[in-house]
Symmetry: C2
Subunit: 80 residues, 2 copies
């Protein structure tokens, strides 16, 4: 599907892109990843359970996200 | 390629499997992921920079791995 990027995920695509080709080195491919894992990872970043280097960048991007936002972002990347 | 699982990765496949279908819920797909990201993630687990839930399991699996092991595991999953 090329359904539109949900607004909560607009920040993600600048590094991860909306397909299997991240734009930044060392950044993981999210497209097609399992949504339950993505939810767990986003929550880990939000709760500060992932630290150091890019993890601190992710903490910045996730700290305002609600559980609902996280669910929607995770499901979108898993299907995209 | 279906090149054989490197011995350092034998522990990984029991949950992640050797293809795109992890055997355990909430566990990420590793096959086809970017090797530089996998290296960074494995080191984060090894150094205790990822904590809580499955991250603690990963810490157990990674604490004895050398940088060379980590590189080989990451490259193998990226290509497999």
């Amino acid at each position: 599907q090329d359904n539109a990027v949900p607004k909560q995920a607009s920040g993600c695509v600048s590094c991860h892109s909306a397909d299997g080709n991240p734009l930044v080195e060392g950044v993981p491919i999210l497209s097609g990843q399992r949504s339950d894992y993505l939810e767990a990872a986003l929550k880990a970043y939000r709760e500060g359970r992932r630290t150091g280097g890019p993890a601190d960048v992710m903490r910045f991007y996730t700290k305002e996200l609600s559980d609902e936002d996280i669910k929607e972002i995770s499901e979108w990347f898993a299907q995209n």
